[in-house]
Amino acid sequence: MLLNQFLILAAAMFSLGIYGLLVRRNIVLILLSVELMLAAVNINLIAFESVLRSPEAIGQVFAIFVITVAAAEVGIGLAIVLMIFRNRKSANVDELDLMRW
C-alpha cells in the first residue's frame, strides 16, 4: 500500500468537509462537516504512524486526543446551537449576523 493513497483520500475528505462548512446553513450540518474534516486528519495521523512506527505509537495517541477534543467540541457546539435556537428560533448561520455592525 502506498502512503499517498491514504493521504489523497484524506485530502478529498477534508476538502469535502470544507465545502460543507462553507455551503451549509444549518449549524448542525456545519458541525457534521467539521467532524468530517477531523476524521480526515485522523486518517492522516494513523497513516503516518504506520509508516513511522514510533515505539510509543505517537500518531495513534494523537488521533485519540483528536477524537476526544472532537467529542468535547460537539458537546459544546450542540449546546450553543440549542441556546441560539432557543433565543432566535433558527439554527441557520446566515441569520446570525450579530457580528455585523
Binding site: 493521504l7 462537516s33 467532524e35 497513516a47 504512524e49 472532537a70
Partner: protein, 183 residues
Amino acid sequence: MSFIDWLGSPVNWVFLVVGLAILFSSWRVVTAKNVVHAALYLVAALGGAAILFLMLSAEFVAWVVVLVYIGAVLVLFLFGIMITRAPTGKDVGLDTPHKTSPALLSVATFVLLSWASIQAFGTTQVESVGEPTSTEVLGIALLGRFVIPFEVVSFVLLAALIGGVTIARRDLTPAEEEERRAV
C-alpha cells in the same frame, strides 16, 4: 509502479472499495437535503475510516472511532437535530445559494494537498496489515509520556461537560421560578 501493479495487491482492492465508499458518504454528508440522512452518511464515512484504521494496524483507534463517534457523537447529533426541530424531510433551504466559491476553494484545497503529498512522499510504502499496535503500548504511552496532555484533555472534556450543561440549560422565566419556589 503502475496502477496494475498496485491492483495486484489484494489489500488495495479493499482500500479501493472502502475509499470509494468513504468518498461517496462524505459527498452525501455535505450535499444531502435531509439532515438526518446527512448524519447517517457521516456514520458511514466514519465507519469507513475505522476500517482504514484497522488496515493500518491501528486497532484500538478504530474501535474508539466506532464507539465514540458512531456510538455516542452521532446519537448526540441526532438529538441535536430533533431538538432544534431541523426540518427532517427534504429541505431545499439547507444550503446557501452561493456554491461556486466554496466548491472552488475545496477543489483548490484538494489539488494543493494531493499535489503536496505526492511531491513529498512519492511512492512511500505502508506496511500491509501487520501486527496491530497493542493497546498496552497505547496505554503506556497515554499514561506515561503523554500523561499531562491526557489530563489536560480530560479537563477539557470535563469543562465541556459542565459548559454544555450551563449553556444549554434554560433560565427559568420569573413565573416559572415563582412556581418552583412554591413547590
